[in-house]
């Protein structure tokens, strides 16, 4: 099938306005929230599962690669059309199909925005727990693909802990179901396996999620330190104390000053680091835990532990945290955010190591991260127009991740592998590990027509690059620095 005929048929599925194929429109789809780019040849906006099936089958006939995309807030290139082809954008498949307060479940289409679901559930005293910083924009479908986390996943778990059922379209166009409203079922847990598969196994078209009861009481604390070491040691001590906060975030001095300048959240400009700590639950338990945390922080050298007096103060403190990446964007042409994970006891020495790496490569690195679960987000500032700086930035990023792995950690805690870290999967996994994962990939997606060249190192996916003429004629990739991480 000629590409023009593919486009023509695509336009028949849901109308002309459900298809974008002009280059100025496609430019909007060559980015995500990260630093890589790759342009699709066409974007289709399905409204129903049936339309997804038809588009998938059509793409198969035309031998066009398919990449599902939510809001494009991802940070690892998972929703970029690395090999060109068709992007399925889910912004029109955004209905909440059911809220079942008695079973604490919701059934949603993949394009539903994360925060919209919590708002819709609020009248029932419920909410959707995973809360990525991008939750005002990111979609549940994207959360499923990336097994997204967020600050409040420390106590309540990441996306996979909150998904009980999935309807998905397979790369061959077949619609399948996994699970349902029941939390467990008989047979393989393909629901759990699908979550976090980064759009490489199938396209989620309907998702059943758990809703949690809104806590009766919340306490938000801001522990202020003169040095980052004291803050890091407090993280270790709080974990050891046996208190599990709902959230435990660390911002270093540089980052909190940058954030404060942008959002006026009330962070102290002269401190070395702060911990933003939240405990929630039963009123009495919250008071107990807040007190225990206050004591631990003071023992570890906090010069002050503030507590948000009301919801407004609380929102303000969180606004600072959740808008931090944006604040950094105000002062640097670009930044490269890492997503390494380390055992929590290694937070202090890892921060020292990151500082050394920054000095070694002459780069500014800000630290803002989910300290409670050891999920670091070092922000490396750079100017993409400066080739040498860009090179140093990528090298520093890799060195930070290598260090995380060397202390028993991981290369990604919540952002995913995508096309950003696929080449360094070997740091974590042996050839045999990857072979077994590849076999599972092939059981779902044998020809790699769905989200090709993601997650696996390219050395093992050579076979999939031998693609169709349609694909090779217009692969537009890597026109920005960093595309070849």
């Amino acid at each position: 099938m000629r590409f023009s005929s593919f486009i023509r048929k695509l336009k028949k599925i849901a109308g002309r306005d459900a298809v974008l194929d002009r280059s100025e429109d496609l430019m909007l789809y060559e980015y995500d929230g990260g630093i890589q780019t790759a342009s699709p040849q066409v974007v289709f906006f399905p409204q129903t599962t049936e339309q997804v099936c038809r588009a998938v089958k059509l793409a198969n006939e035309a031998e066009v690669a398919i990449v599902p995309r939510g809001a494009g807030t991802g940070l690892s290139g998972g929703a970029l059309a690395r090999q060109g082809g068709l992007v399925l954008a889910f912004s029109r498949m955004n209905r909440i199909l059911e809220i079942d307060p008695d079973n604490q479940r919701a059934i949603v289409q993949p394009g539903v925005v994360n925060l919209d679901l919590s708002h819709a559930a609020a009248p029932y005293g419920l909410y959707f727990a995973p809360d990525p910083s991008s939750q005002k924009a990111c979609t549940i479908g994207g959360n499923v693909a990336n097994n997204s986390g967020g600050p409040h996943t420390l106590a309540s778990g990441v996306t996979v802990n909150h998904v009980t059922g999935i309807e998905a379209v397979l790369p061959n166009g077949r619609v399948v179901e996994f699970g349902g409203k029941a939390a467990d079922g008989c047979g393989y847990d393909l629901t759990g396996f699908f979550v976090g598969s980064e759009g490489t196994l199938g396209i989620a078209t309907k998702i059943t999620v758990k809703l949690m009861r809104l806590p009766e009481s919340v306490a938000t604390l801001l522990a202020i330190y003169n040095t980052i070491e004291e803050a890091a040691n407090s993280v270790v001590a709080i974990t050891a104390e046996g208190v599990t906060p709902a959230a435990l975030e660390l911002l270093d001095g540089w980052t909190l000053r940058t954030v404060e300048a942008a959002t006026h959240a009330g962070y102290p400009m002269d401190s070395g680091a702060v911990l933003l700590i939240e405990v929630e639950g039963m009123r009495e338990a919250v008071e107990d835990q807040a007190e225990a945390i206050r004591q631990v922080c003071r023992q570890q050298g906090a010069r002050e532990v503030r507590r948000a007096r009301d919801d407004h103060e609380r929102q303000l403190l969180w606004a600072g945290r959740k808008n931090a990446f944006g604040a950094v964007g105000r002062i640097s042409p670009s930044y490269y955010v890492q997503d390494g994970v380390i055992p929590r006891t290694r937070v202090p020495d890892t921060l020292r190591r990151i500082e050394e790496i920054g000095k070694k490569y002459s780069l500014t690195i800000g630290n803002i991260f989910h300290a409670g679960d050891g999920n670091l987000h070092p922000l490396i500032l750079f100017d993409p127009r400066d080739a040498d700086q860009t090179k140093r930035t990528l090298a520093a990023g890799k060195e930070i991740l290598s260090y995380c792995v060397s202390v028993g950690g991981s290369i990604t805690g919540e952002h995913g592998v995508g096309m950003e870290k696929n080449e360094i999967m070997g740091l974590l996994f042996s050839d045999d590990d990857l072979d077994v994962m590849q076999r599972l990939h092939d059981a779902f997606n044998p020809a790699s027509t769905l989200n090709p060249q993601k997650m696996f190192p390219s050395t093992r996916s050579c076979r999939e690059i031998a693609a169709s003429p349609v694909l090779t004629q217009a692969v537009i990739e890597g026109n920005r620095p960093g595309a070849q991480v």
């Binding site: 005293g125 029941a182 009495e284 991981s410 059981a443």
Partner: protein, 463 residues
């Protein structure tokens, strides 16, 4: 090729791989019987490399392998087509790493829950898996069967806190998923595939977990025993509780019949006391007729004070409390102790379907001369239902099959009711797994991907 003819060369090769001391001698093979079938050989490798070598050999020879841990749950599954080798993880045991400061632990698959618990208790921590027979149950077996106990209410299942796994595929490849940190999205989540796969996709060699502060270590725990004259009232209480701010770590319903298996006498050398036909109403009049909900809370004294204020009911603490929960966790074993022929089902459903399911189980039981004592995590929809013979006559296989089918027919589409155990004869008349909402074709594809020659637990699992 029949199993006996194959026996000698198979044993020879297994001895070459794992040493002759790793083989069970002929006379003792009987004890490794699965559904009446005696394996041709039993091997106990002591390293993941040996497991891989055993499986590569078995795969090449197309020998059927049954992975085994503490043998507490081998009754689950369809009757095997045949068993050539039981691969026991008994010698694959021990804590591999434990960093109390990080609240993470890793252990080999044959490590028992009791061993793991002893290590964790020394640091005031625990793994919230309270299944029956912890001295025998292994972590590999718990993962393979997705086993859970009352703590699932507050902590979730192993799916929620297993952070890494190493296993060997049917064709002898060693693979790992996840890692040692509590948050990690690198690569496919192979833990989820292993959990609940009943040894049909791979032999689990070791696993890593995130662990939790032990309730009662720095804070107190208390259990509130609440009694209700009817199931309806018990369920209304459950709904009120779910809408409240209280966050108990256990919320277990105990049907009047089930409470008999939690009584003081349970677990002692008590005479088997079958219930006679016709005496049902009289017996039940004398027995405890109340529906109970057992709520376990943890926290400071002021937290527990609030539970007292809002719940009332009888409060149990200390040794009596831990003994009560030990008995609840051992409910299945308690039933089987008294009724060799009992059928046990694990039922998972949306919480609102629990009430109908309990009623339906009792009716399906009575229609087939069976009683249906029920316990379970009623607020999260994870129940255990026993079907025990009402008469002194040995029950017929058809009674179990009919009861299971009648009960399953009442459940919502996405619920599942898996038979954990039943008399072997009954397995010929119905499917112990029942239906699954999950796509069968894909499950088969996953099985083929990891066990291409179908040597692992052939014929026993869903696919």
């Amino acid at each position: 090729m029949n199993a006996v003819a194959a026996q000698a060369p198979v044993a020879e090769e297994l001895a070459r791989i794992a040493g002759s001391h790793a083989l069970i001698k002929d006379d003792n093979l009987e004890t490794y019987r699965v559904d009446g079938m005696v394996p041709a050989a039993v091997v106990m490798p002591e390293s993941v490399e040996q497991v891989a070598e055993v499986l590569r050999f078995a795969n090449a020879e197309k020998l059927v392998v049954v992975p085994a841990g503490g043998f507490t749950q081998q009754q689950t599954g369809r009757v095997p087509e045949r068993i050539d080798v039981v691969l026991s993880t008994t010698r694959l045991a021990g804590i591999q790493h434990y960093d109390a400061g990080d609240l993470t632990i890793g252990a080999a698959a044959g490590t028992t829950l009791a061993q793991l618990d002893a290590a964790l208790a020394a640091n005031g921590q625990f793994l919230p898996v309270d299944v029956m027979m912890p001295e025998r149950a292994t972590i590999g077996g718990v993962l393979a069967s997705a086993a859970h106990g009352p703590l699932k209410h507050g902590y979730g299942g192993v799916r929620d806190f297993c952070i890494g796994v190493t296993f060997v595929t049917g064709d002898g490849r060693v693979a790992k998923g996840g890692g040692r940190v509590v948050k990690n999205v690198a690569g496919y989540d192979l833990m989820k595939l292993m959990i609940g796969s009943y040894g049909s996709l791979g032999v689990i060699a070791s696993a890593n977990f995130k662990v939790f502060p032990r309730p009662g270590n720095k804070t107190g725990t208390s259990t509130f025993v609440l009694e209700f004259p009817s199931l309806r009232e018990a369920m209304q209480f459950r709904d009120k509780l779910r809408a409240s701010a209280l966050t108990p770590i256990c919320c277990e319903i105990v049907s009047p019949r089930a409470s008999e298996y939690l009584s003081e006498k349970q677990g002692t050398a008590r005479e088997v006391e079958e219930i006679e036909p016709g005496s049902f109403s009289m017996k039940s009049a004398s027995a405890n007729r109340a529906w109970q909900i057992l709520l376990r809370a943890t926290g400071s004294e002021r937290v527990l004070e609030r539970y007292r204020r809002e719940l009332g009911g009888k409060e149990v603490r200390g040794r009596e409390e831990s003994e009560l929960w030990r008995r609840v966790a051992n409910f299945q074993a308690g039933v089987v102790d008294r009724h060799r022929n009992a059928m046990l089902m694990a039922v998972s459903l949306p919480p609102t379907a629990a009430e109908n399911a309990i009623v339906a189980a009792e009716k399906a039981g009575l229609d087939n001369n069976l009683l249906a004592p029920t316990i379970g995590r009623v607020a999260v929809g994870a129940m255990v239902m026993a079907f025990v013979p009402l008469s002194v006559d040995p029950p017929s296989a058809m009674q179990f099959a009919n009861a299971a089918s009648a009960f399953r027919a009442t459940l919502p589409r996405d619920a599942s009711a898996v038979v954990l155990r039943c008399p072997q004869e009954a397995k010929a008349y119905f499917d112990v797994w029942g239906t699954s909402p999950t796509d069968l074709g894909l499950m088969r594809a996953v099985k083929r991907a990891l066990d291409p020659n179908n040597i692992l637990n052939r014929g026993r699992f869903v696919v």
